[in-house]
Every structure is written in structure tokens, then in C-alpha cells.
Symmetry: D2
Subunit: 337 residues, 4 copies
């Protein structure tokens, strides 16, 4: 492996693939060597933009010994196979969440990973957001004392297309999975009980597709720290992303980010602020850069990635538990075993 | 009844009794005629302060035909009997929450009330807070569209004495009952499902007394509006009282109130604000005045009180449901019938 | 003098007179004995409301030996004579600002006051506002270090009637005089240089009446602390009252107060807040109560009033200097004499 | 000229030169061809980083016909000569503020520029800040109505080295010049009157070097719009950059930017926020990118640069007027003629 620089193959040239490829292209310790996407035109456009080549398929790219690492940003159903192929080829992996929508496939994937000593990171970008990191650091410094309650608010600006909803695995596995990961990270402990309530109030087509578009969950850890998460697929005022951590010494929470810092006052209202950033691409732009940077740093310095495959599995376990609680009305006990 | 002024008897000369008596004493359409408290000294001190007489017991005061109305601010276990005696004597009643800790006694009380055509109001003061009223008015004007999610945060500055905890009925019936009432009022619909998780992290003595000191609840209405409530018996930064109402057109929420509007910046932090108001006496000072004013107005104008005995009963039903859910881990279905 | 209670005569039954009389009426250590106003109906209405008598004129009221103190809230041109008559009659005086619009008459008044040992307070209510007091206390505790710059923003919601403008003494003496007093108090030092720029942008009739409706001023103390004040006679978003104190260790500033603490978010804006409180009666309601309380306390405990006649004179000197600077374009040096 | 891409020479490899060179290096329509700096090592390090060559001096670089544009980020005393040489060589110019500290040299420079039809832009970066642009856009849409008052707060975190102070031209020409430009831009009209007061409270060595470290200014336009600017060389809480525009219909103002959006509450304070961004490199990072982008766009689309040499001259005129007012105590009338 090159001592100071990684050659990447990027799988997937859609929205997230582009985002990662562009961040890699300006990273001083990375280079995009290949872009692979079943839609040839998408692959070649992105490859040209970032100074990379295209490869006809994953196997061809992974066969190139110059490649050190891959970013998997292709559709969810391809993740497990690409992870497996990549680690077998000895390439470090940064895979977008989720690993898979089926916990059994995830378990098999993790079993396979154990046979290889290749770094695998899962793209839970929120852990790399400067505001979330500041909250986590404040907890670490003891500023809130013992963490007793967490409240996570996460609302998308508008629902995705129905075609996406149908293959998404549902709100808990597709959307709230980010909040489950964030909760685990901030709790510093595993939730062992999950209750969930969900609704479909935004668009009845979502219900007909078998999904929900709003939900509230409570998690409880073994030492009785409580965590509430709420999600909605629609917020007219923008992408609403807030975290509140409450403890024995105080509270640390986050406000949303906005495009500018202006405050408007007139005869109807005062100090009105901008609508929020539109969606995750804008809100977590810095996070994606830090995530890539952290991954590159981990691989080059031979340390474990900050967010690993087991984190991906645990978040999915919580999503599955929430879905089950929503359906049964009962507390679901989570055993990570 | 005097056309333009009510003569009151105040039962209970403790913290809340004093608060009500003082508000009545400066109200242009009220007069405190009697203060009754088993502790004679408390009664006579307060009576002197507000220009009232004392009466040896409730019966004596209620026998006075000049009395039009009573405020019941005595200990919870006396509420049901005092309500019954007062309505039988034809006195309008403003009773502090809760009516009783036992839903069967509450049901019997309400059955008794039906026999009389006397106004009975329950002191859920938060409905009279200007900030909460502004939120409710915004909902009423359609500013949030269809209400889809509500988040209520309610944290006391410090736990009450253990002696109080033991007779309080527990966190759900004593503390969260305010939030259940607020939730019902803002939801504009009855919650039909309740799940609750609770913890004892503040003081293990509270657990030994059979109670909890932190809790999270989710309520769900028939049309799938979701409401989260969180409570803690301790917040180092003051009495934390926030409400968030989220809907199809936007969100209305409330910030906490503070003693002053100063913002401090130095080399460690910027725009630091005052710690919150200490507790409910300060935070809801205006609410108590508006509550009394609304009650007097209701009685004098012969309209129904804004918050009635059935509201007291419904809030208790939700508290009981939450307690049961906390114990069983299951969703509890609430049937008001 | 009664040891524990003052009997007041209130001169003036207009907006401010009413405000003071009502605060006195509910004060435990005060009683309104007389209300005097040339408009008999105003006097008798207010007198009835606060349980006082009327007197045909000032002399009659001042002749009553039971009277201990007066509040002068009559028109500005009567202040000097009423102060003089009151102190000669041995009554403690709380006089609304300004003492007079003519510095020579103010000087003669102060010379007269020196002959008597009677407490005289001037009603600069902003010094009694809890937020301003918190700022001043923070300065006192050294939280901003050495005060280097102060910025005072003070904007009325709408201009007063032209008839008032014509007798007001002009914006500097009528409106900014409050800010000059506030500046002196927070600076803890006398401004020695004044520059001013003014404009008439709100209503050209104000210019035709010889006045301005907007102004900006810079004050400089001997040790080079700088203070900026801006005024406008119109702010569509309410009564805008902000203070910022900047120093070697940091900054303390104040936000405006609002009727409620709600925050509204929709597709056009986020966290929009209420328009500001309408005007000084609402914004400084607490200040007026604290001012009266401080005056009563000073008189009863035989200490000097917190804001004295010399403070009234100094603020007028600054207003005169600002007016002169506005007219000449030059720095005006203030010598207190 | 290349149709879609500019080849740049960057003069100056110090802090600002680096910043511009790095922004150019990742700009899709720019390329850094040369870096020129008298300190050879600085030039070669930066050149290597951005993929450029070095040139022995300006003349050598300007002789290269492939070069289309220059960025002048060298020391102030070199600006006029480099601008002249560049325009004579037909290269578009983006020159850091100020053009020069001497208005006569600036006038001669502008006279020279008139002979050439080459775009010259001056680097007043604040006009390209998204928050400032939003304020200006709100004014343009009429949201504040007629602009009546502007308040600009601009405080550096800490004074520059004395060696810099000595050659800086003083606070008005070095620091407040940014605010003068911002004021002209937001006022949409030329200030015709200037008064200034200044102080030296931060460090007496600054006074001994003939400069001041704090100042307050009032500008007045022909139609009596007033603008206040305050500056300090030290703010313990970070780089304080706020703008407030007040008019007949309302107010638009800006809050500061911070590294994260966290809010901390504990027993001492609530909702404390991060200290501000450290200094201009961080605060105006986006502005510098937009500035470069706007310059490139102007040159390639053959439109006038958004901020031209005459803007540089006008800001300096205001700085000179403020300095003169500070020294004389009088209003200084500015005639641009």
C-alpha cells in the first residue's frame, strides 16, 4: 500500500457516490482511480469529473492491485456482496449505511469479515458532524454529568419517491437507523428495550406501500438512560436535525444550521431566521468530508475505523426492534448476542 | 349571587393556597371571605394578609350564604370531600389538581357532580400560561396545519421531599399529569394508546419509596397523532418547560422564560443566558392569575369553566395508563367511557 | 412621618400619573391620599380608583401634614414649581423626567433644593429594569473587565402626536434623555465629549415642527470609553430597547422582551418570534414598580434616592450638547460645572 | 484569452496570497500559473502546493502571454505599481484592499486605469459573505422599506503585531475600511458627512505607535440616512461581525457565525453558545471563494467586476475623513469629486 495516499474505487455514481467521489478528488491523501456504476453514462461522467477511469464491473476494479480502498455507494441490495468481494481482495471498505435490510444477511456478512483483517467502515455520517462531535465531546468531558435522557429530532423536508420507499426497508431501517446509531454513540451504552409508535399522516400512498411516514420511539439502556427519537418524512421548514442530551449536571443540545445568520423583524414577527438547510447533502456536507478524512486516516495509520460493521448491525437490530414494537404494541428486548 | 363580585373561601393556606388567596385579594371582582386550614396559625396569618376571616372548618365556611365560590388548595386526600360538600352547598369550585389519586374515587366524585348544576374547575394552570395559549391559538389558526407530533419537555429543578413523594401518587399522577392535560388540550383529541418508560437516576431513595424520578411517554390518538412527554425530577439549570407542536404546515414551539434578557459573552462562551426561572410559582405566576380570572369570569357570566372535572379525570386516566405501561412494558389502551 | 408607610399626593392623572398611582395603591408601604390634576374629571376618576381624595390644587394638598411624599407626573412645565413647593413643604419628591427643558431653570431648581434636606428622586425608570440592573451588576462584578464601548439602541414604536412633539423639547431632551441617563449609569463616568447627527425620515411634519425623528450620538468619557446611542421615533416591530456593554474581558448585552416565548417555523422562515412589547408602559412595567419601591425604601430608611436631581441635570446637559452638536457639526465639550 | 478558464499569477505568498491561491487551485475555471513573492521559499512552497511555477519577479510573470489575470496579495505599498504593470500588460486584476494608504497615489492609479480597458476588482470580501448578501438582498426586495439607520459592529479578536500596526495606515484605513465599504454598499448612497471618536484602551504601545485601537463613527448620507460603525482591536469572545439595517418597514440584522450549533445549560447559565469563529480567514472563508468566483465570472463574461477601483478609493476617502474628524473633533464633509 502506498504510504501516504489511497487509491479508491467508488461503487455507485448516484447522489452519494458523487458526493464521496468529489470529496476524495480534493483530498490530499486520496485519489479516485475507478468509478463503477451499472449505468455507464453516470459512471463515465463522474469518472471524467474526478479524473478517474471506469471499470466494466466490480471484479475488474477490485483486480487492480493499485487500488487500496473502496467506497460502496451503490444500491443497498448490492452492499453485502461488494463488501465481501472487496475484503477478499484486501481493499479497505467504506460502505454507506445500511449494510443490508435483512439482519440475517448482515450477520453472515459480519461472519465473513471476521476471516479477513481488512478495515471496514460504515457511513453513519452524523458522527462526523462538528455539532454532534461537540455534543459527544461535552459528554466525554462530563459537562452534563451522568446522561439521563436524550431527545433526537430528525425530520426530512419531504418524502422520497414511492419507488424508493418500496425498496427502502421502511422508515425505521432507512431513516431512523441514523438516529439509532447516533443514540448508541451518545448513550455510550446499548439500548436493551425499545418501544415504538408510528403513523402515516403525510401521504396515504406510503401506507399503501406498507410503510409509515412518522414515528416516535423510546429506547432504554440497562442502567435506565432513556432516549426519545422522533422522525417525520416531511418538515415544511427544512431538514430538522436536533439533539438534546440531559444529565445530572446540565444539558447540551444543538440548534439547526441555516444558510445565513440573518434575523428579520417587521410588524408581524421578530428575529425570523432562514428556513433550514434543504437536506442531508447540505446539512452534513462537512460530515461527509470528515468521514472520508477519518476513514483515510484510519486506513493509513492502521487503526480501526471509527464506525465499524458491528455498528451497522446494532443500528439495524434497533430498527428491527422498533418495527416489531410498532406492530405488536409491546416493548421489544434487544439482545445483541 | 352578587352580580359583579364573588366572595371566596380558600381551603388550604400552604404554598398554593397563599398564591391563590393573594391573587384573589387584588382581583377587582373577587374577595377572600374565609381561609380554612387545619393549621390554625397558617389560616390566621393568610386570612389577615388578605383581609379575610378564618372559619373553624369547611362546614362552617360553606354554611355562610354570602360565600359564592371556593378554592380548594388543601392536601389531595381532602379534595373529593371538599368538592362534594362545596357543590352541595351551591358554591362554585376551583380545585387544584389532582381531584384524587384513585380513579374510582374520581369517578364517584364526578357522578356526584352530575346531580348539581354548580361550576367546577380544575387547576391545570398551564392552559392559562400566555406562551401555551399562544401555541394553542396558533394551532387554532391553522399555522401548523394538521398537528402530527407534539413534544413536551417538563423537568423540575429538584425533587420534592421524600415525605411528599410517598403521598404524591408517583411521578405520573403527580407531575406528568400536568403534561397529560396539556397534551390533551393541544392535541384536540383523546390519546387512546399510551406507552411509558421510567427510571430512577436522581435519587435511589425515590426508588425505595416506590416511585421513579424520570420518565418518557408516547401517546397516540385515534387519528395517529403522536405525542412525546419527558419528565425529570431534577434539572440543574432551572425549571425546564418547553412545548413543540409539529404539523403539516410547520412548527410552533416555546422557549423557556428567564428572569432577564441578558446575553453574556467571554472567552469561554457567547450569548449565555440566565438560568431558568426557579419553579412553577415563578414560571406560572401569570398563569395562576389568568386561571383565577377565567374562573371568576366563567362563574359570573354563567359559562362553563375552561377546564372541568372531566379534564381532571381524563388526565388521571392517562397517568394510570402510563404507570401500567411502565410496569408491564406494553401499550395500554385508554377508554374514557 | 409614619415609621412604616408613606402617604402620597400624586400630581398628574394622565398615563404616567395613573401608572404610579396604581403601583402605589398596591404597595404595602404606601397609600395614595390625594390626586391632583387640572382636569377635575381625570383627578376624581383616578382618586376613586386608588382610594384617594382629590385636592383643588397643589397648595391644598401640600398643606396636609399627613402627606409625606409626592409623585410629580404632571406636564413638564409644572415640574420645577411643584418640586420647589413640595420640598418647601417638606415632602419627599419623585419627579418624572425631565426636571425642565431649560438648563437654567434646572440649575435654579437645584440651587433651591440645596437649601432643604428633603429627598428628591428623578424618574429615570430604566435604571430599575431587571435586565438593565443585571447588566449593571455584571459590570460591577467585573464580568466585562474595563468597559470600553457601549451601544444603546432605543426606538419608539411610533411618533407621538405633533402637539406633543411641539412642547417636548425635541428628541434629544424628550426621548434620548433616558439613554443619556442609562449611559452615565453604565459608564460609571461622565461623558465629556458629545457628537450627534440627526435626521427627519419618519414624518416631515416633525421637521416642520423644528424637531428630528432619528438620531445617532457618540459620547466619550475622560478615559476614552466610547458610547453610541441611536434613536428612532418609529419601529414597526415594536418598542426596541437594547443595550450592549463591551470591555476588556467580554460583552454583556440585552435582548428585547416579548409577550410570549413562542417560536414559529414554516416554509418561509424559522424560529420567528413575537413582535416586541408595544411601548414603555408594558416594557418597563416592572421598572416602574421597582422605582416606586426604591423611592419608598429610600425615604423610609433615610438614605439618598438612587437617582437624584443632579442626575436629571446631567442628562439634560448631554441632551443640550447633542442638540448643539447636531446643529454645529462639531464636538461639544460638556463641563458639569 | 481562453474562453472558459483563466490562468492566474498570484503576487504575495503570505496568509492572503495562500488563501486565494488555494481557492483558485480548486476552481473549475481557474489555474494558478505563477506565484511571485520576494521571499523565494514562500513562493516555491505555495507554487508547489497549487501546481504552479514561480517567477523571479512580477515583470517576468506579466510577460507570459498565457497569463490572463493576477491576484495582488502582496504588501500594501506594492499594490499601485503591480496594478499599473498588470493592466498595462492587459491582465485582469483582483487586488486586495487597500489600493494604497495615500489617496493621492490612489487617484493617480485610477487615472492610469482609465487609459486601459482592463477589469480591476478590489478585494472587499465582506460583500461576498452569504449573510451580508442576504441582508443586501432583503434591502433590495424592500423588506426594511426605506433604510434609515445602519449599525455595523466589527471587532478583531486581538491586535496585530506592532510592526504591522506601524505600516498599516492606522485603524481607520486598515480595519474600518472594510466597514466603510460595507456601509456604502448597504446604504446604496454615498456618505457625505463623517464624525469619528477613537480611543486607545487595548494596548498603550498602539498609542505610542501613533494609532488607536477602538473607534466609533457616524456617517450621514445626503438624504440623512445615518450609519454607525464601531471597531475594537480586541474581543475576547472571538471575531465579532454584526450588521443591522433598520428602516421604515422593519429591520434585518445578522448574528455572528460559530463553529458549531451547540447550546449548553448548567447551574450557572443556559443556552451558552460557542465562542465566535477566530478571525477573518475562518469567518469569511466562503466570502473569499465567492469573491474569486465572482471575479472569474466577471472577466470571462466581460462584465464589470462587482467591486471596482473606485470603490477602493471611496472607502479610503471615508477612512481619511474619519481620521481627520477624530483629530479635529469636527464633522468632515466628503466630496468624492
Amino acid at each position: 500500500m502506498a504510504k501516504d495516499r489511497l487509491n479508491f474505487c467508488v461503487f455507485g455514481a448516484g447522489r452519494i457516490g458523487k458526493l464521496h467521489a468529489r470529496n476524495l478528488a480534493v483530498h490530499p491523501r486520496a485519489r479516485v482511480s475507478y468509478v463503477v456504476d451499472p449505468v455507464a453514462r453516470l459512471a463515465s461522467d463522474l469518472a471524467r469529473e474526478v479524473g478517474a477511469a471506469t471499470a466494466p464491473d466490480a471484479a475488474a476494479a477490485l483486480a487492480d492491485r493499485e487500488i487500496n480502498a473502496v467506497v460502496i455507494a451503490s444500491s443497498t441490495n448490492t452492499h453485502v456482496d461488494l463488501i465481501a468481494a472487496s475484503v477478499r481482495a484486501g481493499k479497505a471498505v467504506l460502505c454507506e449505511k445500511p449494510i443490508d435490510l435483512d439482519i440475517r444477511r448482515v450477520d453472515r456478512c459480519l461472519a465473513e469479515l471476521k476471516k479477513h483483517r481488512v478495515p471496514v467502515a460504515i457511513g453513519f455520517n452524523r458522527r462526523f458532524d462538528p455539532t454532534n462531535r461537540a455534543i459527544q465531546a461535552a459528554i466525554g468531558r462530563g459537562e452534563v454529568g451522568e446522561v439521563e435522557q436524550i431527545v433526537i429530532t430528525s425530520r426530512d423536508p419531504a418524502p422520497p419517491p414511492l419507488s424508493y420507499i418500496k425498496v427502502s426497508g421502511g422508515l425505521f431501517r432507512d431513516m431512523m437507523i441514523h438516529d439509532f446509531d447516533l443514540a448508541r454513540w451518545l448513550l455510550g451504552a446499548e439500548p436493551v428495550e425499545v418501544v415504538a409508535k408510528a403513523s402515516c399522516r403525510v401521504d396515504p400512498k406510503i401506507a399503501r406501500a406498507g410503510d409509515v411516514d412518522g414515528a416516535m420511539v423510546i429506547l432504554k439502556t440497562r442502567n435506565s438512560t432513556l432516549c426519545h427519537i422522533n422522525n417525520s418524512r416531511r418538515a415544511t421548514y427544512g431538514y430538522d436535525q436536533r439533539v438534546e442530551v440531559f444529565g445530572s449536571k446540565g444539558m447540551v443540545r444543538s440548534d439547526n444550521l441555516r444558510p445565513t445568520a440573518i434575523l428579520t423583524s417587521n410588524e408581524r414577527a421578530t428575529d425570523s431566521r432562514d428556513v433550514l438547510l434543504p437536506f442531508f447533502v447540505e446539512r452534513y456536507a462537512q460530515s461527509y468530508r470528515h468521514e472520508i478524512d477519518d476513514f483515510i486516516d484510519a486506513v493509513l495509520s492502521r487503526r480501526k475505523p471509527s464506525v465499524g460493521a458491528e455498528d451497522g448491525r446494532r443500528a439495524l437490530l434497533l430498527a428491527d426492534a422498533a418495527l416489531q414494537s410498532h406492530r405488536t404494541g409491546k416493548t421489544v428486548t434487544v439482545r445483541a448476542g
